[in-house]
C-alpha cells in the first residue's frame, strides 16, 4: 500500500464507523430501544455467533458483521448486517437464505419481509432482521418494514440485482441462486448462478477468459462418457448421466452455461440454446 493510501486510512475507517452507526440504530422505527452493546464479528470469530452456520457466510466471501439488538416491550429484534466482498456475493448469500416459495420484493437488490423476519441485500451488504417474540404467531411486518426502509436509506451501494439473473429464460422459473462453489456438484464449475425450473436446472458460470472457459468445457466433457458435440454457443456437448439425466453444457466466450435434469440431452440443448442467445 502506498504512503498516500495509508494516510487516508484513518479517515476512511472513521467514515466507515460513522456509517455503521447510521444504519445500525434501534431508532429507525418508533418504540424500539437498544438493549445490549452492538456486536461485531469477522471471519475469525463468526463461529462464536453463528456456530456451524458461519460457513454459510464464509463461503460467500464474508468480510465482517455488525449487529444490534433492539427491544420493544416483550419483543426483540436482532439486526445483523454482513459486509461481503462485493455486491454479487451479498446477493448470493441472500439467495441462499431466502424462502424460495415467496416472491422477491424490490428492496435494495432484492428482499423478503415475513411476519417475523426480513432479509435484503444492497450493495455489498446482506441484512437479516429476526423478531424474537413470546407469541410464536406475532406479526412484526410493519416494524420490520420500517427498519428495512430506514436501513436502505443509509446503506450505500447497488440497488439492482446482478445482470446475470435476466439472462435466464423466465418461463416456469422457480428460483435462482448463486452457488459459491461446485455448481451442479461439479468441482470444475467453480461459482455461478443456478436457476431451478419446474423441470430441470440451468446454470451460468463466468471464467476469466474464453480460453479458460474452453479448458473447463474440455475437462468436463472428458468426464461424461458418450458425450457428443452439440450446436449451441461457440462449442457444446450433450450427454445423459446418472443424477443429471439429460445434460447440455456450452461455452459462449468467457461463459459456460447449460441445462441439466431434463429427460433427454436434446431437450437440454434446446433450452440451452435459448440461454446462450441471451448471454452477451
Amino acid at each position: 500500500m502506498r504512503a498516500s493510501q495509508l494516510a487516508l486510512l484513518p479517515i476512511l475507517l472513521a467514515a466507515g464507523v460513522a456509517h455503521a452507526q447510521d444504519y445500525l440504530s434501534c431508532q429507525l422505527a418508533p418504540g424500539w430501544a437498544q438493549s445490549e452493546p452492538k456486536r461485531q464479528y469477522t471471519a475469525d470469530n463468526l463461529y462464536d455467533y453463528k456456530d456451524g452456520g458461519a460457513e454459510g457466510y464464509l463461503i460467500y466471501g464474508f468480510v465482517r458483521m455488525d449487529g444490534i439488538t433492539c427491544k420493544s416491550g416483550a419483543s426483540t429484534l436482532a439486526i445483523d448486517v454482513s459486509e461481503m466482498n462485493d455486491a454479487d456475493s451479498a446477493y448470493g448469500v441472500f439467495t441462499a437464505n431466502l424462502d424460495p416459495k415467496l416472491p422477491i420484493a424490490r428492496i435494495g437488490m432484492g428482499g423478503q419481509i415475513q411476519p417475523q423476519s426480513a432479509l435484503f441485500a444492497k450493495g455489498k451488504y446482506y441484512i437479516e432482521i429476526v423478531a424474537i417474540d413470546p407469541n410464536p404467531s406475532g406479526d412484526h411486518t410493519a416494524e420490520l418494514r420500517a427498519f428495512v426502509t430506514g436501513m436502505q436509506q443509509h446503506l450505500q451501494g447497488r440497488d439492482t440485482p446482478p445482470e446475470a439473473l435476466a439472462w435466464f429464460p423466465q418461463e416456469s422459473l422457480a428460483s435462482i441462486r448463486l452457488v459459491p462453489e461446485s455448481v451442479l456438484g461439479l468441482k470444475q464449475l467453480k461459482r455461478g448462478y443456478v436457476a431451478t425450473y419446474k423441470q430441470g436446472q440451468a446454470f451460468i458460470v463466468l471464467e476469466a477468459s474464453p480460453e479458460a472457459a474452453a479448458g473447463v468445457l474440455k475437462e468436463l466433457r472428458s468426464h461424461f462418457d458418450g458425450a457428443s458435440t452439440a450446436p449451441v454457443g461457440d462449442e457444446a456437448f450433450q450427454a445423459k448421466a446418472p443424477y443429471m439425466d439429460g445434460i447440455c453444457i456450452f461455452r459462449k466466450g468467457r461463459y459456460l452455461g447449460g441445462y441439466a435434469n431434463l429427460p433427454a440431452p436434446q431437450e437440454a440443448c434446446s433450452q440451452a440454446a435459448k440461454l446462450a442467445a441471451k448471454l452477451p
Binding site: 475507517l13 469477522t42 462453489e181 461446485s182
Partner: protein
C-alpha cells in the same frame, strides 16, 4: 467401541467408483459404467455410535454448504450412512434440500439436525419445522446447536430434548460444540442424559481435546467429529499438498470417534473422502500433517490465553496476533489496522525490539516476538 470394515459394491445406480488410490477419474458419469468387477469396490468402515447402537460409516456427510442435491444422493447410493444438517443452515433451505435429496433413502441412513432455539417451546417448534422440511417423521439425532459451556445448556433445553425422544420425534439426543469442549465434554459425560456429542476435532488440536473425546466415549456417548480438516477444505496450502485426506484419515482412525462430517460440495470431494475409510493412517500421512502443523505453528495464535499478562511491556499479545491474522490470514488489512489503532497509545508505540529477550512463551510454539514485531511494522 466396535469397528468393522466391509466391502460393498456400489452399483445400484449403475455406478462404480474408480480404484482406491488412483487419481480422480469421474468415470461414473457414464450410464454405461463398467460392471462391478471391472472397478475395485470401495471399502466402507463402520463403527457403532456409542450407546445409540447405530451403525454408521466412519465418514459421514456434513451437508451445510452443499448446494446440489445430487451429491447427497450419490453419497447415500454409495453407502454413506450419516448425514448432518441444522435448522439454521441457510434459514432452513439446507434441511429442505437434504430431505428432498435423501427421498426414499431416508430410513436407510442416520439423519441429524440441530436447534438453536433458546427455550423449550422454541426448540420443540423448531423440531416440528425440521421434520416437515426434512420430509420425515423423526430425526435419528437431535442436537442442541453450538453450545460452548455447561452454563449454555439449561434444564428446560434438556427437557425439550427428552420430550422429543419420548414423542418419537428424535431417536437420540445430543449437543454440538465448537468451543469450550474440554470443559463441556466431561460435563456431558457426567450428566448422563446425552447420547451423542458433535465436536470439533482434528490433528491440529492440543492433546487435552483427545482426552475429552476419550472421556465422552468412555461414558457411552457416541462421538461425531466435525472441522476434521482444520479448515482444510478452504485452506489452499492443505489442499495443494494433499494433506486433506490425511487430515480426515487422522480423525477416522481415532478409535473413539464413531463418524465424521466433512463438508462436501462436489463429487470429487465425495470420492476423495471415501478413500479415508478402510485405509490406515500411513507414515506419509503423518509426514504431511506434521509438515502442515510446522507450517501453521509459528504463525497462528490458538487463543488459549496462556500468554495473558506475561508480556514485559504489558502488550495484549493474543489480541495483536489476532489483528495480524485479519491481515495475513484473511486479507483484511484495513480491519487489522483499525483494531490495532484502537489499542491505548502506549501499546501502539511499544516495540518488541526494545526488549532484549521476549518474556512470552507460547505453549503452541508461536514465534511471538517475530509476529508481534511484524504487526507493529505493518500497523503502527
Amino acid at each position: 467401541m466396535s469397528s468393522t470394515t466391509s466391502r460393498r459394491d456400489f452399483l445400484s445406480a449403475g455406478l462404480a467408483l474408480p480404484v482406491l488410490g488412483a487419481g480422480s477419474s469421474m468415470g461414473f458419469w457414464s450410464p454405461d459404467t463398467p460392471a462391478p468387477e471391472a472397478a475395485s469396490p470401495i471399502k466402507l468402515s463402520y463403527r457403532t455410535l456409542g450407546k445409540t447402537g447405530l451403525k454408521v460409516t466412519t465418514v459421514g456427510f456434513g451437508c451445510m454448504i452443499t448446494s446440489d442435491p445430487s451429491v447427497v444422493q450419490r453419497a447415500a447410493d454409495l453407502g454413506i450412512t450419516y448425514f448432518d444438517t441444522a435448522r439454521g443452515y441457510q434459514r432452513g433451505n439446507n434441511e429442505r434440500m437434504v430431505g428432498a435429496a435423501l427421498g426414499s433413502k431416508r430410513k436407510q441412513v442416520v439423519l441429524s439436525t440441530k436447534t438453536e432455539a433458546r427455550d423449550k417451546a422454541g426448540q420443540l417448534a423448531e423440531l416440528n419445522t425440521s421434520l416437515r422440511e426434512l420430509n420425515t417423521d423423526y430425526v435419528d439425532i437431535w442436537y442442541l446447536h453450538g453450545k460452548g459451556s455447561p452454563a449454555d445448556i439449561h434444564d428446560d433445553m434438556i427437557e425439550a430434548l427428552q420430550i422429543a425422544k419420548q414423542q418419537g420425534k428424535a431417536r437420540f439426543i445430543g449437543v454440538s460444540t465448537h468451543s469450550g469442549q474440554q470443559q463441556l465434554l466431561p460435563w456431558m459425560a457426567q450428566k448422563g442424559v446425552f447420547d451423542v456429542v458433535l465436536a470439533a476435532f482434528n490433528f491440529s488440536m492440543d492433546p487435552g481435546m483427545e482426552q475429552a473425546i476419550d472421556a465422552a466415549a468412555k461414558a457411552g456417548m457416541g462421538v461425531v467429529a466435525m472441522k476434521v480438516m482444520a479448515g482444510g477444505s478452504r485452506n489452499q496450502k492443505l489442499a495443494q499438498n494433499g494433506a486433506m485426506l490425511a487430515a480426515l484419515k487422522w480423525v477416522v482412525n481415532h478409535p473413539n470417534v464413531a463418524t465424521t462430517v466433512p463438508s462436501i460440495t462436489d463429487m470429487d470431494q465425495l470420492e476423495q473422502n471415501l478413500k479415508a475409510m478402510g485405509n490406515p493412517l500411513s507414515a506419509d500421512d503423518h509426514k504431511l500433517l506434521a509438515a502442515h502443523l510446522e507450517l501453521i505453528q509459528p504463525l497462528y495464535c490458538r487463543m488459549c490465553g496462556k500468554c495473558e499478562g506475561t508480556c514485559a511491556q504489558g502488550l495484549p499479545v493474543a489480541d495483536v496476533l489476532r489483528f495480524l491474522t485479519y491481515a495475513d490470514g484473511y486479507g483484511q488489512f484495513a480491519l487489522g489496522r483499525e483494531k490495532f489503532l484502537e489499542l491505548p497509545a502506549t501499546q501502539i508505540a511499544a516495540r518488541c525490539s526494545d526488549c532484549a529477550e521476549c518474556t512470552v512463551k507460547c505453549p503452541f510454539g508461536v514465534q511471538v516476538s517475530d509476529r508481534m514485531a511484524r504487526a507493529q511494522e505493518l500497523f503502527a
